[in-house]
Subunit: 337 residues, 5 copies
């Protein structure tokens, strides 16, 4: 049997993060994949393997050890699956999607975690989400009485772990909507606001595609037809179910609000267009009336008495000024300017 | 056994509002949590405990006394649950959301009430909604023949109490819509109208999330598979069900009307834009024509007979005036001004 | 036993419109509520009571006579229920909503009719819809062979009666939509059109809330699990069901058309805005070009030969006229004016 | 027994188009309604009656002969039913809606066909759709081996016949949409386009109401609970089912495209508004700048050297021309004009 | 028995692409349709026939050989079916729609493949999609252990093959949406953008109609009621099911994003309209103010001191210039220009 250190060295080359045997809720041995066989001879033990983008031969070895189905292995190799639960004879295959906010808080990045669960083993295969599982194994090992429930419980812990990571994302998207609301209703919207609404919608749809299939997955895990999940573990899946349903609701809520926000945005763009038209009209009038007066006194009639007044010019300029000020006052009063 | 006064003193520190034993529909004893054990020895009694944001140790003590499930207790500690009903062996766990209009009638505030119901006990745990239960216990105690039905009936009373509080809120939101209708169709809308439509939509969606899961909760309580609810109490849950369904319908109705109102608002903004454009055009014409006439008599042709007429100037000014008045009349007639 | 006249006198004070015993499809006795007891001793008789906003004590007396459930009686007292069917041991409780066009054909008014049906009795309680039942009893008594089927058939007759009243209302709303279509597409829409679309939508939603729950009510009455409805009466409820489903479809149809009408309206408002902008631009050009020409001949250059032409002035005015007429022609040709 | 000629003569007065007995897939006799009785004595025969808006007494006679249910007969008399299938003891009642394009290809007209099917008879009653069944009987008689399957097969033939008539209509509506697309995206839309979109939507909704209830009708006819439809005839109804589902999909597809077309139309109206505004602005600038220059040289300053240049006037006019041409070029380059 | 070459020669005239017998996963014989009979006498063999738009007599011969149902054959002759699965006694009939991007990547073209599956045979009939099956038979023959599972597995291979061809199409449509997003949010949208959004929507709806019925088809093939699909082949259909569901989700996602994109487009058109209006107004003001000043100095008052200043003209021109530059600066600062 190799040492833990040996096993760790393999990670970068083989994709094996961890491979340990558990008994009575305690880790009793770290072992290489090829020794699984021996470990399973202790009937009270189960194996928990963590893989990260493993090389095909590693996955094939795991397949041989546990007798996993070809189609599930092919799924695990290719990634790009939607979240699902598949029941093979004697084993479960679960696909989960992990999510992360991109740095800067704008945009989402998705990874995948595939899990094989049997009576005596659980194998997780990660794609593009290395950070996502940090701490999970430690947390499980800190609660031996729960870990003792076996692979079914580890599956719960893993799903709970991943689902818990959705919440901060949904909250970040909620904050983005709030910022958008402030922009829209605080008269600070522009071309970019519409683009941001669109991008938020796109992220919500993508997140929805990760979360909503889990409602069905949890539902099936809670039911009584899957013997791999011991009865006392089922309420835990109900807990995950609750989280998923709530998240789903929050996402739908955000989507509906976003649709309304987009329409409200359009309304306000129209309102602001009307306001600009009014302001324009007001200033046009303020300039047009003096221009008309100037035109009148620019006529060449022989007999235009004002032209010969001593203060005719002043009078004309004054009249223009008064009219302009008057119009300005009127428009100001009607809040056109 | 401690006195009622002693128990009351504990509220602020422990979160225990009330803890009493009932027999034959009558309150027979107030008791501290630690004495529940003894009280349950009388086989005709049930315990009704009211907690408000209790300290964890209080909740844990209650858990020990009644053997409640760990996951339910964790839910009750953290709040932020969606309304639901969970069936554990020998006990029900119900989560309800309480709602209140913020002072000023604009905006909603939500709290949560979690209820544990067993054969011989009912425990309610409130979060952020102290006022919400005032009077409930008094009302139940005033109807001993009903209270005698046991914890199942108290659950009904509690749900009825909370659901009854939604109605004034839905009505307040209906009134807000009516005010919005008046603004929109009474030509008094502005930028704020759109914002108010949006906020009303947000409140409706939040209220919907509190109300709609109750349809399913009541449905299950009415059915025949939950033995904790005695058969003669089930019609009462049908009553709550009716209220919830009706409220749900009212909310959906409001949402659909609101969507239409938002679209109508956009239409009317466009109409009002057209009207402003017309008014603008009319006034532009009224100014432009005299300006043109003035321009004509400002030309420097040698032979322009009008220039030498005695009343040429008057004639020109008069013509300008007539044209302007004529145009004004035309536009007035077409309701452009 | 009192005379019919006595019974009739009570209406205004007690709310009892009619209370009669039937045997073999024939009315055999009018009787006061307090004598129901005796009448039921004839095992071939059933009682049909019609109440209109009855005083609570009357309803309580009826409750005692027939052993009705407390919750149903409370519903019947308060009104404001949604249409529903409730099954109590030995009795049915049905809530229906009656509808009427307000005088002038604009706006709807809703009432409620609550019906208690037992093996040997049927009690209808009306709220805010006195006119609605006129003629129903007479019509039933005119078909003794049908009335002989008992209270289940009377329930059918009552539901058919109420559902038949929806049709003219739906047709009136269809006509309103047609009028709106003419306004919208006949270029006669204005601010009021949008308001009318909104009000029609509101009425449709309200009517929908009265009609659509009946689909489910009829469905259950047609099924084989309600023993109070004799088997040969069930096809009649299928008839009501058909009416309700058809009405429901008509309402949904109207709603969808209305949504499209609102969007079409917005499109046409925009089209008409474009047209006004074009017309405006055309007239602006027709005025601006002569103004420019006048400006040119108002320049003060020493050498401007035209100024000294004999018919220079005429030439300038003519040019202005020609340009204006030319522009007018061009715009007319392009249908801008 | 009367001759075929006698029977034919009755059509205009009684509404009986055809009434024949079939045995072994062959028409063995034409007979008047009153002789049905005798014909049914041959146990291998079935009767096929075709009625067109029959007089009530004819329908009542048919009812007596076959023992049809009162409610079905009343439906057949009044028309205005939605498509449905009703199961009475020993008989089926099917309502179908026939559809026809109005001449000119714009607008739809609907009729109804009601069918009573029993073990030994089939009666079709047409309302407002005489042309619709032409050729059906001939086609059936041309395939005796199929007609031999009995009334169940004739029902199939009739439904197939009617459903086949929907396809050219759906295709005509698809063509209308294509024409609308060309108008909308080919910049040839106007006020009428919006009206046509609306009318197409209305036709689609009406057609949908004729087609979509048939999905359910066919579904029930395909199932195994209707003994009147022999097992080997059921696959034929699956064929009708397929047609109906496909038609339904085509209609839904058209509806969704139409909604998008209406929105695209609104977008393009706005785009075209923007373009008009730009063109307007361009021409306004082209006129305004020369006007300004003319204004400058119309000023009365003593010292304005240009005024005294020999070619000052030409220079001014030239400048105006150059500026105008320059602006025209700029706007042309930006595609504003 | 004829040679392979003979068989190949027939393709263009008869539509028979391939007709071979398989045993133990190996192709054991190429044979003409008329020899099928003999081949089926070896009880370990199954026949796989590939037809491409076959002549009716060929299809009829196949029908006779395998006893296929008339209705299925008629479907296979006419094409224009929606994807479906039909269960006849002893045989399955599956309709699939094939899809291809038109050259240039814009627009889709659809074909159909009909498949008859029996215990010992599989017949595929292609319409308008010759290219679509290239390589399928070779791929199957390369995996004899799988091909050995029989016609059920070939059905899977065929469906997988066709469904795999949807993915590049969905991805091409996703790219089209991305290009549209860039146009819309990168201020490069025009009239064509709206038309492209519409066309993308149309393609998505068409593709949806090909893909979404397959969810149901696969679902039924995965279930346990179809004995023609051996139990160990069912997980393979679950694989196809997964692909179809994922594709379906991607299409729905695209549709919802497209709807949002269309609305965002409308918003941005309005924003850009507002911006043009502002720019217009700014330039109008920059021209109007100097014109007004010129008008003032064009007045003919006797006493206008500036007119006699030495640099009056320069002063006036300068003032005009300054005002214009000032206004330009203000508008530039407010980003109107």
């Amino acid at each position: 049997m190799r040492t833990t250190a040996d096993v760790r060295d393999d990670v970068s080359t083989t994709g094996v993060i961890n491979c340990a045997a558990y008994a009575g809720g305690q880790r009793v041995a770290d072992l290489p994949i090829c020794d699984i066989h021996e470990a399973l001879e202790h009937s009270d033990r189960f194996i928990w393997i963590g893989l990260n983008e493993p090389r095909e031969e590693v996955l094939r070895e795991v397949q041989r050890e546990f007798g996993l189905h070809d189609l599930a292995i092919e799924d695990a190799l290719s990634a790009h699956q939607r979240p699902k639960l598949e029941l093979y004879e004697g084993s479960l295959f679960v696909v989960l999607r992990t999510a992360q906010l991109l740095p800067g808080g704008i945009g989402l990045e998705f990874g995948e975690t595939h899990v094989f669960v049997g009576d005596r083993y659980i194998v997780s295969v990660r794609h593009g989400s290395l950070k996502s599982h940090v701490g999970l194994r430690a947390r499980c090992e800190a609660a031996p009485q729960l870990l003792n429930k076996g692979p079914g419980f580890v599956l719960y812990a893993l799903m709970d772990f991943i689902v818990d990571q959705y919440l901060p994302i949904v909250e970040a998207l909620e904050e983005q909507l709030e910022t958008l609301e402030e922009e829209i209703f605080g008269e600070r919207f522009d071309r970019e606001t519409t683009a941001r609404i669109y991008r938020l919608k796109r992220d919500l749809l993508a997140l929805k595609r990760a979360v909503s299939p889990l409602v069905d997955v949890c539902n099936r895990l809670m039911r009584y037809d899957i013997s791999l999940i011991p009865e006392d573990t089922r309420p835990y899946f109900r807990d995950v179910y609750d989280h998923v349903v709530r998240m789903n609701e929050m996402i739908d809520n955000l989507r509906e609000l976003l649709t309304t926000a987009l329409e409200a945005n359009l309304s306000l763009i129209s309102v602001s267009q009307t306001e600009h038209t009014k302001r324009l009209a007001a200033w046009a009038a303020i300039i047009a009336v003096p221009t008309m007066i100037a035109g009148i006194y620019g006529m060449n009639f022989d007999a235009m008495p004002e032209l010969h007044w001593r203060f005719g010019y002043l009078y004309a300029i004054g009249m223009m000024g008064l009219v302009s000020i008057g119009l300005y006052g009127i428009f100001k009063g009607r809040r056109w300017i």
